[in-house]
Structure formats: C-alpha cells, structure tokens
Symmetry: C2
Subunit: 433 residues, 2 copies
C-alpha cells in the first residue's frame, strides 16, 4: 500500500457505522500515530439519505456497490448485515482488490469459507473481529494469542440481547416481551429480534469460534440450536432456588467422539464466573492445552464497543498491509472437517420441570422411569400444588445423560396419566471437567 | 525473511524455556499451518549443562551471546531474566538484525525505551507478551484490540505468586512463610521471591501496561509500590468480615490531575469480579471510551501458560516478518510523558486497623482526629480486647481521602497515649467511578 493513508469506505451507517465514523474522526491523530498513516474515510455507501449525518470529506453514494468499485478505497467496511447485498458487496470488493472488514456474523458463518478463500487467492485481507462478542477481541485471541495451543473448548455468552433479556427476567422478575421491547429501544436488539431469541445469532457466532478453535471449515449447520424462548420465568426462579443461574451459552467442545457444537439456555452454578456475567455483557472462555482457561469479558453489543472492534481491524490492516496470517488461523484450503457429535449423543446434566397430579406416588413413578433409563437423579423436588387444579410442579436435576436417553425418559414420563405434556428440559453445565 | 523456516534461538532453558521447546516440537505441524512456515529451533543457549534435556537438532552453546551472533537464528528468545546479561544479549541480537521475544518484565520496564527504539531503528521486532500476566494476551489487547480507544484505566491482579499466597492465606488461614515455600516448590515463585512479595514484579508489569495504555514512555520509577508483606492474617480476616477480599492490585489510571500508578494490597468488595480471581490466576481490566470495561482472566504464572505467550509472539513474527506496528503501540519517539499524580495526592477509601487501650473514649478521640482532617468514617468497629493486655483492635473504613491527609491523621492517632504504633493502612477500591 503505497498511499499516504489507508482509505476506508464504509457501507451502512446505522448504529455501528456511525460509531465507527465517530472514532475515526475523533481519534484521528492517535490513530495516525498508531498506524503510521491516517485512516481516512473516503467513501460512504448508504441506501437511505441521512441529511443529518456528517461524513466530512467522504464521497457519498446511494449505491453501496459504488464503494466496492471506488479506486480511492483500500478497505471496504461492510456494516449492512444480512447475506444478500452484503455477500455481493464483499465479493465485488475482493474482486476489486480491496481489503474487507465486516461485523456480519451471518455472512461469515454462511459464506465465510468461500469469501475467505477468495480473499486469500486475491491477496487481500478479510477481518471480522466485530462479528463475535462486540468489543471483546475473541477472534484475535483465538487466531493469534492461543495459536500455539490445542484448543479443546470455547464456550460463552455470545448474544448480548439474549443475556440482557434473561438477566432482566431473572433479577427483576420482568416479563419477556417487556424486556425485549426495552432492548429494542436501547438499540441492543434488531428490529426483527428473531435471531437473538431463537439462538440463530449465537449459532452463527459459535460457528466462527469453532472454526478458529479447531481448524475446521465454517459449518452453519453444525450447531444444535435452542433459543431463550424456551425459558419461562418459573424456570428462572426454580433454577435460582437450586443455586443456578440460567444463561444462553454457545459451547464448542472437542471430545473423543468428535466436536460438540450447541447453543442453548443452560443452568450454571451461581459460583461460576459465567453465571455472573449480566446484561449486555458477553464472556467467552477458551481452554487450551498450554494456556489453560482464558476468559474474556466485555460489552457484547452496542455501537461504540462494536465499532472499537471494527477500528481494531482497520488498524491491523494499516499496520500489516501485506497481511498477517490467515483469517481463520490456517488457510481455508487447510481447514479440515472433523466429525460432529449428533445432538442425541451430547451428554450433560439436566434440569427438568414438569407438572403432575399432586399424588404421593407420582415422584416414585418418575424416579422409576429415570432409573430404568439409567439416569441418575441429583435432586427431585415437588413444589406446592397450585390451589385450583390439584397439580404440582416437579423440578429435578439429573446426573450426566445423553440427550437421546433423556428424550426417551421424558417421553415415558409424559406418557403417565398423572403428568401434563408441558415439560421444560434444560441442560446444566458445571464446567468441571 | 526469505528462509523456508523461522529460525528460533532460545536463551535460557528453565521452566518457561523448556515449555516453549515442548510446544514448538509438539505442535510443529499445526504451527507450520498457522505460520506458513515451520518454527525451527536452530540454537539453544544455556549457561549450565542439562544432560537430560533434548534439544533435537538445535546447536547448543554454553555462551548465550553465541545465539545472538548465530547467522542461522532469525529470532532470539530471551528467557534468562534479570537486567544484566539479558540486556547485553538483546542489544547484541538487535545489532545482529534479529527479532527478539522476551518474557523479561524487569528488562522491558527498565530498559525498554532504549531497546525498543534500537529495534525500531534496526527494523526488527521486539515482543514481550509473556512479560505481563503469563498466558493472558493483555499486551496484544492493549496494543491492538483497544488501539482505537482512549484508555482511561488499566488495573488488575498481575502477580500470580502474590495472588496465590494471599488466596491461600485467606481461604485456608495458612501462614505466609508456609504458602511461600509451597509456591516455590510449585515453580510459581522465583528462588529469590523478593520481587513477588514487595510489589516490584507487579510494578514492572504495571509500567509496561501503562505505557501501552496511555502512550507514555516506560518509567520504572513511576509506580507507588507496596507489597503483600504489609498484609497480616488479621487484616485478611477483618476484611472478610466487612465483605471485602484483599488482592494485590496494579492500577494505572488517567485522572484530570495526571496519571496514577500504584501497586498495593487492596480491599475489594467481594461482589466484584477481581475479588474472586484466586490462586495463580491473573486478571486485567481495561477501560476504554469505546469498548467500556474489558476484563481478561487467565493463568498468570506457570511454564506452559507463559510459553503459550512466547509462542504467540513467535507466530506473530512468522506471520508478519515485516513488522506489525510499534511494540508499545506508537513508536518510542512518539511516546509522550504525562504528569504523574504524587503518592500523597492519590485519593481512595481506606481500611485502617490499629490497636488501642480498651477504653470507651478511644474511639471518640480517633473519630475526632479523622473528622478534623476531613476524613469521613464509613464504619468503625472495636474488636474484643485480647485478654492479657487490656488492648483491643479497632478496624475502620473511611470515605475517600488523599494519602497525605490519611498519613497525617494516622500520625495524630498514633500520637495518642492510648494507641500502639503498629497500624495497618490499606487502600480500598470499589471500582465504582
């Protein structure tokens, strides 16, 4: 790069785009000192007109593709989101020989293998620190800091919106819908929050983390996926009484049988660090053979924190115009798929909440079924019955069991005439092994 | 670097050196994939003979300076420690056009400005991730991940040995000397543990963190320094009763009046994350204007964790042979000294434990002195008197006060005929601001 500046084109000027522009303008002297050259925004692509935005000297285009074609752009920053326009845009930028910085987890998870391979062939960089866990440098940690380790696990709270909702529901007893609309007002949740709630967003991020951790290709279909909509206020309360907090976790773990990848609401003992990461905070734990457990905690959402990661990528590109190693740790061509553990074979402790007739022999029937399935019971509590129906909630914690076995046991339990079909089944993670 | 491998020379084969050799050998295929070239140990310098060590194909020399002169070495890894031989060795390596990786906090804190400036002139890299907080990538986080932020604070537990000792004393009521000798047996503490105990080691690390955080030259004289030897078992117990844990913290904070730099035992509310980082774990918190609070927790000592960071530096050099930005974030010539807040002007809440005659008017006299010094009292507790002497410990927590004012008040309190000269005065940090 022989120019006197790294010339940046920004596509998408929502919360993160504006925060990125603000950092690049507000910190320009400091950034020049850090990069040895200014980071200049030469072009902004925005499909909508924003008369109140100040883009400085940057050229503005309504067609984001113009940014990818602009000869005065060295790095294209994609902050549009989604997998259609963003995909075409990044492809065009790479073809035009431009580096790419993106915060788009869905796009990297779904099309990353292709796009990164393209970038590697074209000799340009594609960076996506902001795509996972907002301001937390977990991509850099996996790609660079623990690069000498055999990583056996990466796990954490990687959806800020979901964690905000669960935290508010747990600590203030608020209703799901109420908290969700506040999250949208605060700018944490998307206008369409489906992906935050059903686990898709966390699954996308986990796919990226797992690729970096284990050197496997990005595989958007790999994670077993459960969202926070499966958690009721009653479960949060019962979990609390048992000494647990419910968090939505992404877990990618190398086991003898293969790699487990799963996102789901999880009971965590309240003494564990991850149980106490609240609100929009994210936390990611990496376990490596040399480094041991490394945990990073920070803001998982919000414009400024995410823009901090976008700008870190720009600084890295300015400092390393010739590249600084493969985007996924090893070149895409050297990523090697490994067997995945099927959902049914993933073992864990379990939390089960069901409703049954308030009769003394119900618990014994349930215990018998679990025992016949070889599932150990860690605790079983029959709650006081609700006055009107003669039914009572039963809450139980099990020893470690595979999901397929658990499902079979739950089916049998639900087949009892005394039980209701409404059953909550959540995994428990003690992070002991 | 036109060689088919990055050729590594290792000086010093103690715990960290051996762990580094083990990683480079054990992970050689994975490292080649990550770096695009092998990391080959071509030379080992060790002043002592170790007939049981296996150095593979590496040339072995009793004179470490030979490693710096070896034309078949691209990167010299300095794991000798101390500031005499290591200083000469690194200088020679730079003169010989070699990159340097070191775990030597004392050397970087004391001679880093000179050595890094030399390396910048010579166009070679000098890297020291392993010098601070073992396996935690805090250098990379400050230098790269939060490089777009104005950092206002970096604080944490940055001496694993000291934290191990305080944790064991707190949780198991063990005696200082007993825990120290175990720490030495476990390889956490140096043969001469003075620097771990008196705060010097933490001060060295803080000097490095502060330079990266604030863009100031390394200044080994800057930190106010207190060690864990100032903490008695009684203070750990009283702190616990008050809802605090005692941790040895390093704190570098940008205030209006200048930069505060200090290492000292500190009372932290037990609800705070840092209060619950135990054993040889380290934790570092960075506060940036964009990213907010970012906390990294991991192994702060131990051969493998430290070697993980040494190898990460080697990987970075292999991936970025032309360099990847200044070692301290900005070139040494652009570091700018900022005013330091003198020790006496550093304000905080305080914990005070003193012994006084078990008379009803003593607490009132003490309160009067504090009030006359404008120091607010948050709590004051007179403990039961020891049976034999008619004296009783008094434990108090104050509101925020500058050290100079606190010292004056303590002097006056010790001037009372009723008090003993033995007084413990520790800072309290609530991390609220």
């Amino acid at each position: 790069m022989s120019h006197a500046a790294l010339r940046v084109g920004i596509c998408g000027v929502g919360t993160v785009g504006l925060a990125t522009l603000e950092i690049l303008r507000g910190q320009s002297l400091a950034l020049t000192a850090r990069c040895g050259q200014p980071l200049s925004v030469t072009c902004v692509g925005s499909r909508r007109e924003h008369p109140d935005h100040d883009y400085g000297d940057a050229r503005v285009s309504r067609d984001v593709m113009d940014v990818a074609r602009d000869p005065e752009v060295d790095v294209l920053v994609e902050l549009i989101g989604g997998t259609s326009v963003a995909y075409d845009l990044i492809k065009l930028a790479i073809e035009q020989g431009k580096h790419v910085v993106t915060a788009n987890k869905a796009l990297i998870a779904e099309h990353g293998n292709e796009l990164i391979a393209m970038a590697e062939s074209a000799g340009v960089q594609i960076r996506f620190e902001a795509a996972v866990a907002g301001g937390i440098p977990i991509i850099k940690a996996l790609r660079e800091a623990v690069a000498a380790n055999q990583v056996s696990e990466v796990a954490g709270i990687i959806n800020g919106t979901g964690n905000f909702i669960l935290t508010e529901m747990t600590t203030k007893g608020r209703a799901f819908d109420d908290v969700l609309s506040e999250a949208q007002t605060l700018g944490y949740a998307e206008a369409d929050p489906t992906y935050d709630i059903d686990g898709t967003d966390a699954a996308h991020k986990l796919v990226i983390l797992a690729s970096l951790a284990f050197g496997i290709p990005l595989n958007i279909d790999a994670p077993v996926k459960h969202g926070i909509q499966e958690v009721t206020p009653a479960d949060l309360e019962y979990a609390g009484e048992l000494g647990y907090r419910v968090k939505h976790l992404g877990i990618a773990r190398q086991k003898d049988a293969g790699i487990e990848m799963r996102v789901h609401p999880t009971l965590i003992p309240e003494s564990k660090q991850l149980a106490n990461v609240d609100g929009v905070l994210n936390a990611v734990m990496v376990v490596g053979d040399a480094v041991g457990e490394l945990v990073l905690v920070g803001a998982g959402a919000g414009g400024a924190a995410t823009a901090s990661s976008v700008c870190a990528d720009l600084i890295d590109i300015a400092r390393n115009p010739a590249g600084s190693g493969p985007a996924l740790g090893v070149p895409v061509a050297q990523l090697t798929a490994k067997p995945l553990v099927p959902a049914g074979d993933i073992a864990s402790e379990w939390y089960v909440r069901l409703t049954a007739a308030d009769q003394p022999d119900v618990t014994s029937k349930i215990s018998q079924i679990l025992t016949s399935c070889n599932i150990g019971i860690a605790s079983l509590v029959q709650k006081p019955s609700s006055a009107d129906e003669g039914k009572a909630p039963i809450v139980l914690l099990t020893q470690i069991a595979r999901e397929s076995v658990m499902t079979q046991a739950i089916d049998e339990i639900c087949g009892l005439v005394e039980t209701d079909p409404d059953v909550a089944v959540l995994r428990v993670e003690s992070f002991d092994q």
